[in-house]
Symmetry: C2
């Protein structure tokens, strides 16, 4: 029998306890050991829980119990999760987590401690909820160079965009609906500003390239500025707008990594990923494109991913899984202003003729696109690949000609 | 250093050698051991190969070399692969394979020998080529009950159907094109009659339910009878025709398992899986639907899956992976004639009035669907869920009323 502790009894934490108890037998069979929850850590009281006697408010109970071999950290947030995780690993306990913020910020350090102590630090649940992605990608890496990873990594923003695209709902109304349905939090910034997707692509990039890519190195833009006008233009262009986290390996050894809304062609595999679903594309030099699709969040999917990691730790108490990356720095990432991509612009001027003249002066190759009921002074166009700093220079010059850039959205090559 | 042997130097086998050699360093890092190819078994001569000195025509060289710890069987076919695999496992060597026929026919026996000998028998490459599916499903099973697996498991038939759907090409022309492009073999029966998909769903079902489901227990129907008329009716119904391998767990503990063409709604995740791509949906009680998508065949994708298994064996030379099912028999499978599903019929009678009367007499709830340029005496309809034996009884009665059933296709609930 192996004793484990679960730190945090929120949505995911209570799901982990539920899965461990409800699948006790099949889990014992797969882990080749019975798994016993010895402690559940939470500062709150749960007097009515069937596991009331397992609760503790003291982290030291877990840390000092040498019989606890595996700890599930499902508290979320940086602190005290960081401190607790570090202490557990240093004490020779394996740790599994769904905490994407912690992995994205402190992964390299924690993986190094795990390596030194010959224990495991696993985090399948930190990206994609119940979609297996960390483990398949890690396996895939053995015989592949991962050229690119791109995905719809946040269910909340994908739900909002889907409502905007399919039901012509405004961003505000769609957000409100997402909050009512429990998909978005009262303070939705982490989702709609792209921070959640940023942490996830940072984790996938670190895994793919073996160096820690910190979230603050990722150019991150959310969906708060996307309007129904842009949605209509995307449709007339032949696609949809999705919030994409993307990382590509460049020829110079650096990477291009961003989270931003993008125009995606309707025929792309990711264009059909709707509602709260996630879709993640991994492009390997040998496997080609492999896409993983499923619900990226939720109590039981995430909990079952945490439990799969617990089982893996129990099976590998004396052997480490290969899951590791070393520290990294900003020299790995190409500055956003130097990246190049095709782009969509929506601009407004005083009246049509002068606006069009200004656009064609600065973007001679602009391809104009149209939408129904557009005001006469609005012009939208797409342009071939162009470095970001040039896009910005051109935007500034447009302004001097009396034309305001209302939207500028990357066109994806997915 | 660990010595391995590669049995078979065809498309996949030569790919395995290529991947092992080209990724030597990164593989050594992940496997924590250098991997050395000691033998390549093939009856043909390859005098110009850079690995010419590794070739042997004698299986005994491999079997009797106690330093060969892992053998990749990429010969395909039942014999002599079955004999060779059994002997290697009995000799305490781990075996990895892409051979779906062998795993589908002899999996339970070979897994039992592997278990007894404390070695591994791994077969990630047998289903889905480079798409990771065996390993994620196996992990997923730890904390989930797999309720259903359904997928487009054969790229050749999917290519043919895509050409019929998108380019209005006849089955014969599309098959010819597939042959010219190298997607279909000169004798295409294994693909177009559904045998290849049958082996793959049998493997996935065995893994999901822990009992060997033999291919001859799977009702298997190919795509040779699908016509452009059916494709047009599927489109007017709101979907497409796909060849689906599907297994579902029933309440009585048995399973419903089939390979057959099905009507799939256009909104289904599998409807957009086109050309030579595969898509596999795994429905778990905790994770919900997870879909895996990618190229299901090809030299390098398949080879890289074989190599990932080799690495796994090298890392687990002293520990077994949990991958096992026990023997099974026909009592596990609900007879096809008793299964129930909604269904599409295309019938032809002498003239419209009597044909319609006959249809409505036998199928009072029939919902008629139409297509452009249908002959006056052709009627197509869909009907709600109905046991197969009743569908067949009704077909017989139609015949007695002078109406011939030209097509009958299952309507999927995917």
């Amino acid at each position: 029998m192996v004793n484990v502790a679960v730190m945090g009894h929120g949505v995911v934490g209570s799901g982990v306890v539920e899965v461990l108890e409800n699948h006790r037998e099949s889990i014992a069979k797969r882990a080749k050991e019975e798994i016993n929850i010895r402690y559940i850590l939470d500062i709150r009281d749960f007097p009515d829980s069937p596991y009331a006697e397992k609760f503790t408010k003291s982290f030291d109970d877990i840390l000092n119990d040498s019989e606890v071999k595996v700890v599930a950290e499902v508290m979320g947030g940086l602190n005290p999760a960081y401190d607790f995780t570090k202490k557990c690993l240093l004490a020779g306990k394996s740790v599994v987590t769904s905490n994407k913020e912690l992995v994205a910020e402190k992964g390299a350090e924690l993986l190094q401690i795990a390596k030194d102590k010959n224990v495991n630090y696993l985090f399948e649940a930190s990206v994609g909820g119940g979609i297996p992605i960390i483990r398949p990608m890690s396996q895939c890496l053995a015989a592949n160079e991962v050229v690119e990873v791109a995905g719809i990594l946040n269910g909340t923003t994908n739900f909002i965009l889907t409502k905007m695209i399919k039901d012509n709902m405004s961003f505000e109304d769609a957000l409100k609906m997402a909050q009512e349905l429990g998909y978005a939090e009262r303070n939705p910034a982490a989702d709609v500003e792209g921070h959640d997707a940023c942490r996830k692509i940072a984790i996938l990039a670190s895994l793919a390239y073996g160096k820690h890519i910190y979230p603050n190195l990722v150019h991150t833009q959310g969906i708060t500025k996307i309007t129904l006008e842009d949605v209509a233009y995307a449709s007339s262009w032949g696609g949809v707008i999705k919030l994409i986290g993307q990382v590509k390996r460049l020829n110079d050894g650096r990477i291009d990594i961003t989270v931003e809304p993008m125009f995606i062609e309707a025929s792309s595999q990711l264009a059909g990923v709707d509602d709260v679903f996630n879709g993640i594309l991994v492009r390997g030099d040998a496997t080609g494109d492999v896409v993983f699709y499923g619900k990226g969040a939720g109590k039981l999917p995430t909990a079952s991913a945490v439990v799969a990691d617990i089982i893996d730790c129990v099976k590998h108490l004396k052997a480490r899984k290969y899951l590791y990356w070393s520290d990294g720095d900003e020299s790995l990432v190409k500055p956003y202003s130097e990246t190049e991509y095709p782009v969509y612009f929506r601009v407004e001027g005083k009246e049509r003729k002068t606006t069009l003249d200004a656009v064609l002066k600065l973007f001679p190759d602009a391809r104009i696109i149209v939408r129904a009921n557009a005001p006469e002074n609005e012009i939208a166009f797409v342009h071939g690949s162009m470095p970001v700093y040039k896009q910005e220079e051109a935007s500034d010059e447009l302004k001097q000609l009396g034309v305001t850039v209302k939207s500028k959205i990357r066109i994806s090559d997915l």
